[in-house]
Subunit: 120 residues, 2 copies
């Protein structure tokens, strides 16, 4: 396991990777991770969705803990849509089908936490 | 263990509790927790420090994962101070002595994640 290392970094200085075809207009930054920083149990990522873009409508056996930093859009949970905007907190339980959609006119930017044990 | 429950909530609608004498000018909101929401491993809290206020200079055997939402100030890590402002990410490893101080003129507002197993 990676040794835990103190760090302070502006999130915009962390490389943004293109998510892929299943998530049009989406990038992800690995802000704090088990692999790179020795985070014991939790990875913090920043996801940005361009206007009109969306994450996949998908599910997995682990949770998300989200915080909307800026922009507006909607999160779907088991097919039902809920509006979200800056300052909102979203808890998506393990196993829930979910998707984020940017329905606004500026980027939808949100923190997305997942367990270290479940990937990057 | 509490069943995991989907939720969307504006962070300002979550009750803010006064931290206490050891943290002048500080409040904390429990945004996502194991106890209330069935979060499996990680509690997300929002901490707000009034200008001139600070959290205790303390340590504990678990980490913090922080994101600065607004305001400015400094975080001390093992006695050395680092400036922080909106958009910064801070990883404080387990066991590190640390403190947040609001050195600005508006509230310093930041997310603070800790393991469910280590308290609220």
């Amino acid at each position: 396991m990676t040794e835990s290392i103190f760090k302070v970094v502006a999130y915009r200085d962390v490389e943004a990777s293109v998510f892929g075809d299943e998530a049009p207009g989406v990038t992800i930054r690995q802000l704090i991770s088990g692999e790179a920083d020795g985070a014991p149990i939790y990875n913090m990522r920043m996801i940005e969705i361009e206007p009109g873009g969306n994450t996949p409508d998908h599910d997995h056996p682990f949770e998300h803990e989200n915080f909307i930093v800026s922009g507006s859009g909607e999160v779907t949970y088991e097919g039902a849509a809920y509006p979200v905007s800056a300052g909102d907190v979203v808890f998506l339980p393990p196993g829930a089908r979910h998707q984020y959609r940017n329905t606004g006119e500026e980027p939808l930017v949100f923190l997305c936490g997942i367990p270290v044990s479940r990937g990057c």
